[in-house]
């Protein structure tokens, strides 16, 4: 390919094209960016001197990555932690380079950097070829919707720009990206360190006829206009200033014109656009995708945040409607995801309570195959089904479009995953759909009725530590003060709700899961819940914590093992030591002490003092 770049047709004044640089750690992303900025003369005066100085201080030759790795930890450890953005100009066109970290542990930062890019440069070490993070990043490019990808075979000098070997790596990558349905725009053999095929054509690879990286960047087309699509505006907020009501939001696609008939959200109310309002701008009766505007409606309805405004009376232009949603998940929580977990699904400005109804398939990153699984591992990818209590309106996810960009947040408002909505999920043959419903009674109303807040105190400790005794005494003391308390005690629960369970690790985990759900229901009803359960494993307690959410308080009943053994109120230690009880915590199976409990209750002193310790913590939590 010998075409030259003609900037005039592609320059958009003042509009920047963000390009994300991704790839496996140490394949040379930061060096590439340093080289790009240097070759395009984009460094401010003095910056080069700083880099040379920072490098010299650490005994290094010029370290290009210091341009981007601005944090002290990044320079000291030679690793990019968080993404950064640097503007640069190419033939009068503005670009923003987004540097994304390659380490798996910083995946969330890679996504943060990459999500709004219009194109990606996937950097692959020509000698090493495709590695784990290459596959992971490629998968993410697909899921966040980037479909213009330039592959840079970096460090090609290390294999002497050998055509046969480079073609081999190119073949592997094309196959990988092809399976992910990603367009490969160019594959460029290069050396970022030496500048081969970055800004200038390399003489070391005379067999290569494609563009240099800079030429490839200038071929990126601006995103297509979204004006011609059916109108969508998710309501962001509703204001009233000086007697006028404004329905505020950003148009996601299409256009809106004064006089248009709109339908509001799922309830089907209709209104006419009386005015398209902007402040300190000449009046103009039309607005299009990307604009943040305010509408005056006639009649003067008050939509809710999250209601989708769509054209009225046009079936073909209507969004999809479903209560079971198929999504392609990228999972960002440090803990695995399991069926039955509940989240808030954020979709533009809307929020819905959703439950994971099914994990349909999990992606194996080694060969990108899909296979059934019970859980999605941390940083994993999966196809899952989400159940919502009622039908919601959405447009399916498509690369480069704002539609269907679902995000899952936990009870702490933390983002735990991206869930692009692919479409409605069919109900499996012969199964019941789960439709969880959310209570309309607010926490504040419940607290008002009870006169106190709610909380779950999860008391963990060795058998014989005194958990049940302390819990029961605390129950009495708190009840006398008029507080509403329930105790969930291990043995009591096992005599009924969990009488089908034994003491294997799996059964213990199931026991904890059930107790955690009961505690959650009681807390939702406004109760103070004291759970007395050995719950020996950190992993299982983390699961309980995830189920219970922000009301969770971990209490470690701290009693010396010898004392528990000598107390042995149920005669269990004796039996375990005789080998008559298998998998007995503290004897034949491990107890993991909590790392950072919210409360430590000493269990070896006087009971009244231990109880006071607990009741003080309860008062603090629910006052």
């Amino acid at each position: 390919m010998t075409q030259t770049h003609s900037p005039s047709s592609q320059v958009r004044h003042g509009v920047s094209t963000p390009i994300v640089i991704v790839g496996h750690v140490d394949h040379g992303k930061s060096t590439l960016i340093g080289r790009l900025l240097y070759d395009t003369d984009s460094l401010p005066d003095g910056r080069l001197v700083q880099i040379v100085e920072s490098s010299r201080k650490r005994g290094l030759a010029v370290e290009w990555s210091f341009l981007l790795d601005s944090l002290q930890i990044e320079r000291d450890q030679g690793v990019t932690v968080d993404s950064t953005r640097i503007p640069f100009q190419l033939n009068g066109r503005d670009f923003v380079i987004v540097d994304a970290p390659g380490h798996r542990q910083f995946l969330r930062n890679m996504i943060t950097g990459a999500a709004d890019a219009e194109a990606a440069v996937l950097v692959v070490d020509a000698a090493e070829g495709v590695r784990e993070q290459t596959r992971r990043h490629a998968m993410l490019l697909r899921l966040i919707g980037i479909n213009h990808v330039i592959v840079l075979l970096n460090k090609a000098d290390s294999i002497g720009f050998d055509e046969a070997r480079l073609k081999q790596v190119e073949g592997d990558i094309r196959q990988l990206l092809g399976r992910l349905e990603i367009n490969v725009n160019q594959v460029i053999p290069a050396s970022a360190r030496d500048g081969d095929n970055i800004a200038t054509r390399s003489e070391k690879a005379d067999w290569y006829k494609g563009p240099t990286l800079l030429e490839a960047l200038s071929l990126i087309q601006p995103p297509a206009s979204r004006h011609a699509l059916p109108f969508r505006m998710p309501v962001q907020d509703v204001y009233r200033f000086e007697g006028v009501r404004y329905v505020a939001g950003r148009i996601e696609r299409g256009t809106v014109r004064e006089g248009d008939r709109l339908v509001i959200g799922g309830q089907g109310q209709e209104a006419t656009v009386a005015e398209v309002c902007r402040w300190h701008a000449p009046h103009y009766p039309v607005a299009g995708a990307g604009e943040s505007i305010a509408l005056r409606l006639e009649p003067d309805l008050v939509p809710d945040r999250g209601d989708l405004l769509c054209p009225a009376g046009d079936e073909a232009a209507a969004p999809q409607k479903a209560a079971r949603l198929k999504t392609r998940l990228f999972w960002l929580r440090g803990e695995p995801l399991r069926v039955g977990e509940s989240f808030r699904l954020r979709l533009a400005t809307a929020e819905y309570d959703v439950t994971v109804a099914a994990i349909d398939a999990v992606v194996d990153l080694d060969d990108l195959s899909l296979s059934p699984a019970d859980e999605v591992p941390p940083d994993g990818f999966a196809e899952i089904t989400l159940a919502v209590a009622r039908n919601i309106l959405f447009d399916p996810f498509a690369p480069g479009m704002p539609d269907g960009r679902g995000v899952l947040v936990d009870r702490h408002q933390k983002i735990v995953g991206g869930a692009p909505l692919i479409g409605p999920a069919a109900l499996p043959e012969g199964s019941h759909a789960i439709h969880p419903t959310a209570s309309g009674v607010s926490d504040a109303v419940r607290a008002g009725l009870r006169g106190h807040g709610r909380a779950v105190f999860w008391m963990t400790g060795l058998p014989g530590a005194g958990k049940s005794t302390i819990a029961r005494h605390a129950e009495e003391a708190l009840s006398r003060e008029g507080l509403h308390v329930t105790v969930l005690d291990g043995d009591t629960v096992r005599s009924g709700l969990c009488s089908d369970l034994g003491f294997s690790p799996e059964d213990r985990r199931e026991n904890i899961r059930r107790v955690a759900h009961v505690a959650r229901i009681l807390a939702d009803a406004g109760q103070i819940v004291l759970v007395a359960l050995v719950s020996p494993l950190i992993r299982d307690r983390a699961m309980a914590r995830a189920i219970i959410g922000e009301d969770w308080h971990e209490v470690f009943v701290d009693t010396a093992p010898e004392l528990c053994r000598s107390r042995d109120p149920k005669g269990l230690y004796a039996q375990a030591e005789d080998g008559r009880i298998a998998e007995f915590t503290g004897v034949s199976s491990a107890y993991e002490v909590p790392e950072k409990p919210d409360v430590v209750v000493p269990g070896d002193g006087d009971v009244a003092r231990s109880v006071r310790h607990l009741t003080d913590a309860v008062h603090k939590a629910v006052r």
Binding site: G46, H227, G288, A348
Partner: protein, 272 residues
């Protein structure tokens, strides 16, 4: 008669629309919130964008954390536009420099006063959202920021563990005592700010324009900010100057250059 089409948005239109979106998200999700008005060009643009977002109103307080060492022109400007723009102004004081971390270099130590003044003000009013006008292109650690940047109860920036932020979904605080720094100008560059000032005709303090061959490119405290050589005496001339400039905007800010990590340390402690 043919109907008008929706307009094609240029770069400034896109930045403006995104900033309005961010301010509206913040106002909806973070109550009570306030906007930091340093009286400089960026924070004036931010007040202007708030008026765009809320139809001419600024429906939350604007805070000026006063070091007592600003230029007199800036105090005059503050008083004039508090009235003209109908702002709910909240003032905060800064403790004396002697109380600051003595291990910081001198100018950074002076700048740290503002961090403490700001922290006191946030605690006093229990603000959950604080809107600040920092930009990624100003300084390399700012380039790593989030649009919504959660701060712990001690106002620390946990730079190693920032939340994911994508598809316009932002982190909101989840524990008592936390607040969120909101950065609606993060994606703007210095030139964008000036072009927007020109387009919207946003008033500025005169110090930005050249007198006797010097002007201020960035405004901080009098004792740690120095002017640059320049003959640009109008907005248009400043834009023309910046289009060919090769030095960084904060070159005149002493605390940025004292040691390699001075600015990062300031920011981790809660500086802007």
């Amino acid at each position: 008669m043919a109907l008008e089409d929706a307009r094609t948005m240029d770069g400034l239109d896109q930045l403006e629309a995104q900033s309005i979106f961010i301010l509206r998200e913040a106002y909806r999700k973070l109550k009570p919130m306030a906007l930091l008005w340093s009286l400089g060009k960026d924070s004036n643009v931010m007040v202007w964008l708030a008026r765009k977002a809320f139809m001419g109103h600024v429906p939350f307080p604007v805070m000026h954390v006063d070091t007592g060492k600003k230029f007199p022109e800036m105090y005059d400007f503050r008083d004039e536009y508090t009235k003209k723009w109908n702002l709910d102004l909240v003032l905060g004081e800064c403790p004396p420099v002697e109380e600051m971390d003595p291990s910081l270099p001198p100018a950074a130590r002076s700048a740290a006063r503002k961090t403490v003044g700001l922290a006191n003000l946030i605690d006093k009013h229990k603000f959950r959202g604080v809107v600040a006008g920092i930009r990624r292109d100003e300084q390399a650690t700012r380039a790593k920021e989030r649009v919504f940047s959660p701060r712990g109860a001690s106002h620390q920036w946990d730079v190693r563990n920032q939340p994911p932020e994508f598809w316009d979904q932002y982190a909101t605080p989840y524990e008592d005592g936390m607040h969120v720094r909101v950065h609606p100008l993060l994606a703007w560059r210095e030139l964008d700010i000036w072009r927007y000032i020109e387009r919207e005709n946003i008033p500025l303090v005169d110090l930005y324009f050249a007198k006797d061959g010097k002007r201020y490119r960035s405004l901080g405290d009098q004792d740690i900010t120095s002017p640059i050589e320049s003959n640009a005496s109008t907005v248009a001339e400043v834009i023309a100057e910046l289009e060919t400039s090769r030095t960084s905007e904060r070159a005149g800010r002493a605390m940025d250059h004292e040691s390699e990590d001075a600015f990062e340390r300031l920011r981790v402690a809660g500086y802007l």
